[in-house]
C-alpha cells in the first residue's frame, strides 16, 4: 500500500490521533523521487501502526506554508496532531527509521 495523499481538507483529521509521518514533496524535485519509494515501503511496514502520508506542496501550498516547509523533501513526524520532529532533505530509509523512533 502506498502512502496516503493528504489535503487541506482531511489533514488535521487524519493526523489527530496516534503517530503520523508526513512527506512534503513535489513532482519537480529530484531527491523527492528518491524518497518516494522509501516512504511507500515504510507505509507497508508500519501499516496499522503509523499513518504515513504525503503532501504535494504544489497543490497543497497552504499546508506547506502552515508547517514552514521551505525545502523538500521535508518529512514531519506528528504525535496526536503535534509536531515532534522533522527531517529536511532525503535521509534514506535509515534516517526515516531514526525519525520514527522519536515518536
Amino acid at each position: 500500500m502506498a502512502a496516503v495523499h493528504l489535503t487541506k481538507a482531511d489533514f488535521d483529521e487524519k493526523i489527530k490521533t496516534g503517530v503520523a509521518m508526513v512527506d512534503f514533496w513535489a513532482e519537480w524535485c529530484g531527491p523527492c523521487k528518491m524518497a518516494a519509494p522509501v516512504i511507500d515501503q515504510l507505509s507497508d511496514e508500519y501499516a496499522g501502526k503509523v499513518l504515513i502520508g504525503k503532501v504535494d506542496v504544489d497543490t497543497q501550498g497552504e499546508l506547506a506554508q502552515k508547517f514552514g516547509v521551505m525545502s523538500i523533501p521535508t518529512v514531519i513526524l506528528f504525535k496526536d496532531g503535534v509536531e515532534v520532529a522533522r527531517q529536511v532533505g532525503f535521509a534514506g530509509k535509515a534516517g526515516y527509521l531514526e525519525l520514527l523512533k522519536k515518536a
Binding site: 519537480w28 529530484g30 528518491m34 506542496v57 506547506a64 521551505m70 525545502s71 532533505g89 535509515a94
Partner: protein
C-alpha cells in the same frame, strides 16, 4: 534456479536467499558510488562479464540528482533533466547485470584480498574496487547556517526555489553551479543577488551572459557572508564588511569537497583530501593494488558529468586488465 522459489505473495524467501548468496559471494568488482563515474564504470565492467556490485548509497545518483536541465552532456539534443539522466544510467547499468544496493558504506578493509566493504546492512567481498564516491556540498560554515537549513538555507535551488515565490534571495558562489542556482531562482523569486568573494566569476562564458541578461539578478563581488540571522526562518544575512541585507533565502553554491573521509588512513589522499591516482601501469589505481578511483573524489580540476563518466570508463578498463593479470 533461485527465481523459481519466488512464490507469489511470499517474496521473503527469495529476498532471503538473495541476501545469503550475496554474503558468500566474491564479486570481481565492487563499485562504491552511483554518480556518472560509478554507473559508467558499472556499465563497462558488467559488459566485460565481470561480476559487479554497486554500493549506491541511500542517496544514490550523486550531484546530478540536485540539478535541473543538463545541457552539456552529449547525446541529448534538447538537454535532459539531471535526475532523469541518472535514472537512465542506473537502468542501463542494471540491464547489463550490475547488482545495485542502496546502502551506505561504513568502512572498507583493504589489508588482505578479497577486499571487504561494510555497509549499514552487511559485508561484501570483492577482488577489485572502484571508488567513485564523488563530492559533497561545501557549506559556508558561518553561524546560523546549519540551524537554518530547510528554513531558508539551501544548497538545491531546483528543489526549493518554488518556496521563494515573490521573495528576495541570495546565492553564494561564482561558478556554473551558482549561476544555475540563480537562474532557477529567478523563475520564482523577485530579486536574486549573487554574492561572490572574488572580483570575477569563474563560471563559463555562456552562464555569465545569461546572468548579465537577467533583470532580476544583481551581483555583489568581493563580498563574503559572515553570519545568517533568523529565528524560525532566515531573516537577514550579515557580510564581513559589516553590512546587512534582509533576505528570505540563502542558496549556497561555493563548491564541493571530495567524499573521501571514510578512506582516510587507508588510501593516500592529497592535501585537499582528494584520492591520489598513482598507479604506474594502471594510472587510475590508488596507492592500493586493485583499488581504482574515478570522478570527483579524485578530480579537482574538471568536475563535469561527462568527465566523471570518462574517468569511470578508464577505471573500469584498468580494473578489467588488472584482474586479468592478477
Amino acid at each position: 534456479m533461485l527465481d523459481r522459489l519466488d512464490l507469489p505473495g511470499k517474496p521473503g524467501i527469495l529476498s532471503y536467499l538473495r541476501k545469503r548468496r550475496r554474503l558468500m559471494e566474491i564479486y570481481d568488482v565492487i563499485i562504491i558510488g552511483s554518480g556518472p563515474a560509478g554507473l559508467t564504470a558499472g556499465i563497462y565492467t558488467s559488459r566485460a562479464n565481470l561480476k559487479t556490485l554497486m554500493i549506491a548509497g541511500s542517496k544514490w545518483g550523486g550531484q546530478l540528482m540536485l540539478t535541473t536541465g543538463v545541457e552539456n552532456y552529449p547525446g541529448f539534443l534538447n538537454g535532459i533533466q539531471g535526475p532523469d539522466l541518472m535514472t537512465n544510467m542506473r537502468k542501463q547499468a542494471e540491464k547489463h547485470g550490475v547488482e545495485i544496493v542502496d546502502e551506505d558504506m561504513v568502512r572498507i578493509e583493504i589489508g588482505d584480498r578479497p577486499y571487504k566493504t561494510y555497509t549499514t546492512n552487511r559485508t561484501y567481498m570483492g577482488r577489485a574496487m572502484i571508488i567513485a564516491t564523488g563530492a559533497v556540498t561545501q557549506w559556508l560554515n558561518v553561524p546560523g547556517e546549519q540551524e537554518l537549513i530547510g528554513r531558508g538555507v539551501s544548497s538545491c535551488a531546483p528543489c526549493d526555489a518554488p518556496f521563494f515565490k515573490g521573495k528576495k534571495v541570495v546565492v553564494v558562489g561564482g561558478g556554473d553551479a551558482a549561476m544555475e542556482e540563480a537562474l532557477v531562482l529567478t523563475k520564482f523569486a523577485d530579486e536574486v543577488t549573487i554574492v561572490h568573494r572574488r572580483g570575477e566569476f569563474r563560471a563559463s562564458r555562456i552562464m555569465q551572459e545569461r546572468i548579465k541578461n537577467n533583470p532580476k539578478i544583481k551581483v555583489r563581488f568581493n563580498t563574503e557572508v559572515a553570519e545568517i540571522i533568523g529565528k524560525e526562518k532566515v531573516e537577514k544575512v550579515k557580510f564581513k564588511d559589516g553590512s546587512e541585507m534582509e533576505v528570505d533565502g540563502i542558496f549556497v553554491a561555493v563548491g564541493h569537497k571530495p567524499a573521501s573521509q571514510i578512506f582516510e588512513g587507508k588510501i593516500d589522499l592529497d592535501e585537499k583530501d582528494y584520492i591520489r591516482r598513482q598507479g604506474a601501469k594502471y594510472h587510475t589505481m590508488s596507492n592500493v593494488e586493485g583499488v581504482f578511483v574515478a570522478g570527483d573524489v579524485h578530480d579537482y580540476r574538471y568536475r563535469q558529468a561527462i568527465t566523471a563518466a570518462g574517468y569511470g570508463c578508464e577505471a573500469a578498463l584498468d580494473a578489467e586488465r588488472w584482474l586479468s593479470e592478477a
